[in-house]
């Protein structure tokens, strides 16, 4: 197995190191031959499994992911950056030169694309594990699945179901909170509502989300577009279901199109 990083915060690969009880057993079961954050022992491919964290934001990385794909049997993307472009995909809605000038005194030193895009926009991806950050237990299940040659059992239902399981009183119903739980994939453990705040969608769209219906309901008295658009447009901003809904209700966007 190889672990590869593109534009990201390292938090998802850290989840592998956060498997404190399982880390040594995992290392017994598989040979990790490329994991720069954890090991100086690096072997060239081919790899049975490549875990890919991060999004594509530079020309160099656009070429690097092609190489990783070429040498990998299974390519699994981990986290919101790799599966949807991450928070840095907000620049897809902005002006690249303006972003460069805002951060860097010498923009000419920086090489960057105008977009941040998911790995699947560039190469074939065999499995996507969502979350910002991913859930380490889901990651272990994916690794075990690959070892057992079965499909991973990652649920695609919404956060709502996990709130019920956890016994959390619905904050969208009881407190009129704006909560993305109904359209967001479970996996986090439904933590935000349990901590008295609305879900902000960090696991991305659930299976068959009815984003427009939920948005229209919130817009009918509970939130303004100016409040709702940033909620749909954060860590999974470029996930199609969230992007299309956010663009539809964005009062500052003419035709709903983005770069």
């Amino acid at each position: 197995m190889g672990v590869f990083k593109f534009a990201s915060c390292d938090g998802c690969q850290l989840q592998l190191l956060s498997c404190e009880d399982e880390l040594l057993s995992i290392a017994d079961a598989i040979d990790i031959v490329h994991f720069l954050e954890a090991s100086s022992h690096v072997e060239p491919g081919p790899y049975d499994v490549a875990l890919v964290e991060g999004s594509i934001t530079t020309n160099v990385d656009r070429n690097r992911i092609l190489e990783v794909r070429k040498h990998s049997k299974y390519l699994v993307t981990i986290g919101a950056c790799a599966t949807a472009g991450g928070i840095q995909a907000l620049k897809n809605w902005g002006d690249r030169s303006d972003y460069l000038r805002a951060v860097y005194a010498r923009p000419e030193y920086i090489e960057t694309l105008s977009t941040s895009t998911a790995i699947a926009d560039h190469v074939k991806v065999d499995f996507e594990l969502r979350g910002c950050p991913i859930n380490r237990l889901q990651l272990i299940d994916v690794i075990l699945s690959l070892l057992a040659d079965r499909a991973p059992r990652t649920p695609r239902h919404s956060v709502c179901l996990d709130c019920k399981r956890r016994g959390t009183v619905c904050i969208a119903v009881a407190q009129d909170a704006v909560c993305l739980g109904p359209i967001t994939q479970a996996g986090c453990g439904a933590i935000c509502p349990a901590y008295q705040r609305g879900c902000y969608g960090c696991f991305g769209p659930a299976a068959q989300p009815n984003c427009d219906s939920l948005a229209d309901w919130y817009l009918a008295g509970r939130a303004t577009p100016v409040e709702l658009v940033p909620l749909l447009r954060n860590f999974n901003a470029n996930a199609p279901a969230f992007r299309e809904c956010g663009d539809r209700i964005d009062p500052f966007l003419d035709s709903g199109g983005t770069t």
Partner: protein, 433 residues
């Protein structure tokens, strides 16, 4: 190595550091002419993408700068915004914030010490290889780290990108009984941390004492985390809001990370656990203070390799303080101080696991971010690491290029650079002429 006095050494990518970077060393007749620590982590433009966002999202967004120390980004942005909004928090919220920071120091120092750094002292490539020789010690390290994560999960909701910290306080304050479920594990953690500090202080360290200006926060009554003045081993003593008058970020061609320098003299400086321990020995917890005198180091210490001992002492401190905060906790109501948005500007500094971190924000009347400036610890240490390497490399040129590269990586790792915070790290390339 070529036949004449010109040769090139390359290390493809620095390993066991967070994020990605490269090192280029230029040599002429075996004399170092330049060292460039190059951060090729792709830029993610956080300071630009925050503009126009609702201010209450700022801790959620800045957390994503670094998956290893999200609390540092959350705490610093929250405090800076509270300055901008004129919010005064309660002593109970303040204590819970310190507890949250204790969790991050335990987790982050735990990762760096056991998974990234200790393998160097036994010439192992990873903690997995180290575990074959020192199974008990590695398992102890993982256990300690796990307790840090449990603390973060309880108080923050989860360990990576916690969801509970808010401008004004917390979304939900923990119940007393919930916090008390951590006490047994924290007591075990304190004992483990004391054993780790004794173990790492028995390691062999290169002699490499340097004339650093070490910079850290200082508070008269508590070990610095969330609050204090910024002081240095060369006499600096300023309020956090004077930071930009004494420190300035520069953009260099070889890096997507900015480099921060002391102004007006344009000198490098050193932040992190060793700077904190040197400048704050009197406020360490009782067990950490006791160990400080036992570990055979003359304090203040200016050997960067011994940062791991400072890190271990801080883990002892964090466990002991966490236990004290939990023992004293009587609940926290309100969990969050309410506020009204206003046009304002605020800045703040806190101590991330890797060192001083500074944020400044401007807010708009309708509660949006108008401007953001973020100075992470690694951008501050970057120039000092380059200067250290320039002095250190001549002593390690004799052993062949791969040995030179390995020695450089070890020195860099002792700083615990966190490169993904290169909102903006390492391939080694040595050019010899």
């Amino acid at each position: 190595m070529t036949g004449d006095t010109t040769r090139t050494i390359q290390v493809a990518a620095l390993t066991r550091v967070e994020g990605e970077g490269a090192l280029r060393i230029y040599l002429k007749d075996n004399r170092v002419t330049d060292v460039q620590l190059s951060i090729y982590e792709p830029p993610r433009f956080f300071e630009a993408l925050l503009r126009g966002r609702p201010l209450e999202e700022t801790p959620d967004i800045t957390a994503r700068i670094c998956g290893i120390c999200p609390i540092a980004y959350q705490m610093t942005s929250i405090h800076a915004l509270e300055q901008a909004l004129g919010i005064a928090i309660t002593p109970e919220i303040r204590a819970l914030r310190r507890l949250l920071y204790c969790g991050e120091w335990i987790e982050s120092h735990g990762v760096h010490t056991h998974l990234l750094h200790i393998p160097d002292f036994f010439r192992c490539s990873s903690s997995i290889e180290l575990a074959k020789r020192f199974p008990k010690e590695v398992i102890r390290g993982l256990r300690l780290k796990k307790t840090g994560n449990r603390l973060l999960e309880l108080l923050g909701g989860r360990a990576v990108h916690p969801i509970n910290a808010a401008v004004g306080g917390f979304y939900r304050a923990p119940r007393k009984a919930e916090l008390h479920t951590l006490t047994d594990d924290l007591k075990q953690g304190l004992q483990d941390a004391i054993d780790v500090a004794r173990w790492v202080s028995s390691f062999e360290y290169p002699d490499f004492d340097r004339d650093y200006e070490m910079v850290a926060m200082h508070h008269p009554e508590e070990y610095p985390m969330n609050e204090g003045r910024i002081v240095s081993t060369k006499g600096l003593d300023i309020a956090a809001n004077e930071f930009e008058q004494h420190f300035e970020e520069r953009h260099v061609a070889h890096s997507t990370a900015l480099q921060c320098m002391r102004i007006p003299a344009n000198t490098a400086y050193f932040v992190g656990p060793l700077a904190r321990v040197n400048l704050n020995p009197s406020t360490l917890s009782p067990s950490a203070k006791q160990l400080m005198s036992e570990v055979g180091i003359e304090w203040p210490c200016f050997n960067p390799y011994k940062s791991i001992v400072a890190r271990a002492l801080e883990v002892v401190h964090a466990f002991e303080e966490a236990l004290q905060i939990i023992a004293d906790y009587q609940g926290c109501s309100p969990a969050r101080v309410s506020y009204a948005p206003r046009q304002g500007e605020g800045c703040w500094a806190t101590e991330a696991p890797r060192g001083l971190i500074y944020h400044r924000y401007a807010t708009t009347e309708d509660g949006k971010i108008a401007f953001a400036k973020i100075v992470p610890p690694t951008s501050q240490n970057q120039r000092q690491i380059e200067l250290d390497l320039a002095d250190y490399i001549p002593s390690v040129l004799g052993g062949g290029d791969s040995e030179t590269a390995l020695a450089c990586e070890r020195l860099i790792r002792s700083y615990d650079p966190c490169i993904s915070c290169s909102t903006h790290f390492l391939k080694l390339e040595i050019n010899r002429q």
